[in-house]
Point group: C2
Chain length 188, copies 2
DNA sequence: TCCAATAGGAGACGGCATGTCTCTTACTCC
DNA sequence: GGAGTAAGAGACATGCCGTCTCCTATTGGA
């Protein structure tokens, strides 16, 4: 045949294209109106190819998110103070959230029930490390810090972003850290 | 015509029946799979009757919730201590949540963003009153309590219930109150 | 008391997305 | 170079949405 030979993508290459298409579709129409058909069309493939890899919308979208972003804490901040480190983590959460379609998280939350390990567990580990380093510097009395206190900053940011739908600015972050979190790290 | 005369319900009576049917449907299939057709069938009426009153699913369900429950704080607790009052409020939140289909809140939150008024604002007012009474008893230094601190208990419960999907037991409540909230009411 | 206006009950309809299936054809690996 | 695999394309049954239309029970006003 003369002219264009329709190259047929496979495996990783195809998968990458689909995940990119998914993300683009998300950005364009949001999560609520993202359809398998839309993604397939945009990726230039058929629905069956999607369903061969992911059982449903939620899983596809979760893959797309993971594909686009590595872990939010793959490089831990080390500013020299607990305050700086925690603010850094919170800023990352806010920044990442800002780059998502507004209904993405709540949509996934509704359909799949749980926030995946990525979103919560990883942050807990990061906080643990930050607090240990703080303890070595004498900033923190580790025995006074319960797990719930440790996740206070991230929990509150999450609450603010997802349940209150607030724009979280710098002053919100410092409020949480200075008025709430830091005082609890060194009880009287 | 001999025998059963098909009484035709109207106005308030019909509306009540629909709202009850909506709640039953919610309890049975959850929010995600609640359909207008299902509600209409259960109420023994047609879809048009629903659409005449509510523009869509969300509004119908919101009405059903309001129809079933009055405000969570229409009678403020007054146990004689801030600790008791706050625990009481938190227990109410947990109790009410337990009586809801698991996906109800997140579903509505996703689709309409409404409900924040009921679920957040009302509780803030209640907390304000509780704290003022606490201040009169000398339990609380009001000048140290920022709005964000005041809503800490309710925010954390909400986070636990809606984002972490945890079963919130008594020990969770006392942890939040004793380890986090009360210490912040009387800084050193 | 009767009649016109209103609203209920029932269901058809077009539209759209889901998830399954089938078919042909390009590619890959042995 | 040939068998097996998976891509591309689209038909299909299903389900729900929101709108429309029909007919009839009920009601409030003349």
């Amino acid at each position: 045949m003369i002219g264009i030979t329709a190259q047929r993508r496979r495996g990783t290459e195809l998968e990458g294209a689909i995940l990119r298409a998914t993300w683009d579709e998300l950005a364009e129409v949001g999560y609520a109106r993202l359809t398998m058909e839309g993604v397939a069309a945009r990726a230039g493939t058929g629905k069956q190819v999607l369903y061969r890899r992911w059982p449903n919308r939620v899983e596809l979208v979760l893959s797309a998110i993971r594909h686009r972003w590595s872990s939010i804490v793959d490089d831990l901040p080390d500013t020299g103070s607990v305050r700086g480190d925690v603010l850094d983590i919170m800023q990352r959460m806010v920044g990442r959230f800002r780059q998502m379609p507004p209904d993405l998280i709540s949509g996934i939350l509704t359909e799949s029930g749980e926030l995946r390990v990525n979103f919560i567990h990883v942050l807990e580990d990061a906080m643990a490390t930050i607090l240990e380093r703080g303890a070595e510097r004498g900033e923190v009395r580790l025995d006074a810090v319960t797990p719930r206190i440790a996740r206070l900053p991230t929990d509150l940011i999450r609450h603010e972003l997802l349940l209150r739908h607030r724009v979280v600015d710098e002053s919100t972050l410092t409020e949480i850290v200075d008025d709430i979190f830091l005082p609890l790290l060194r009880p009287a």
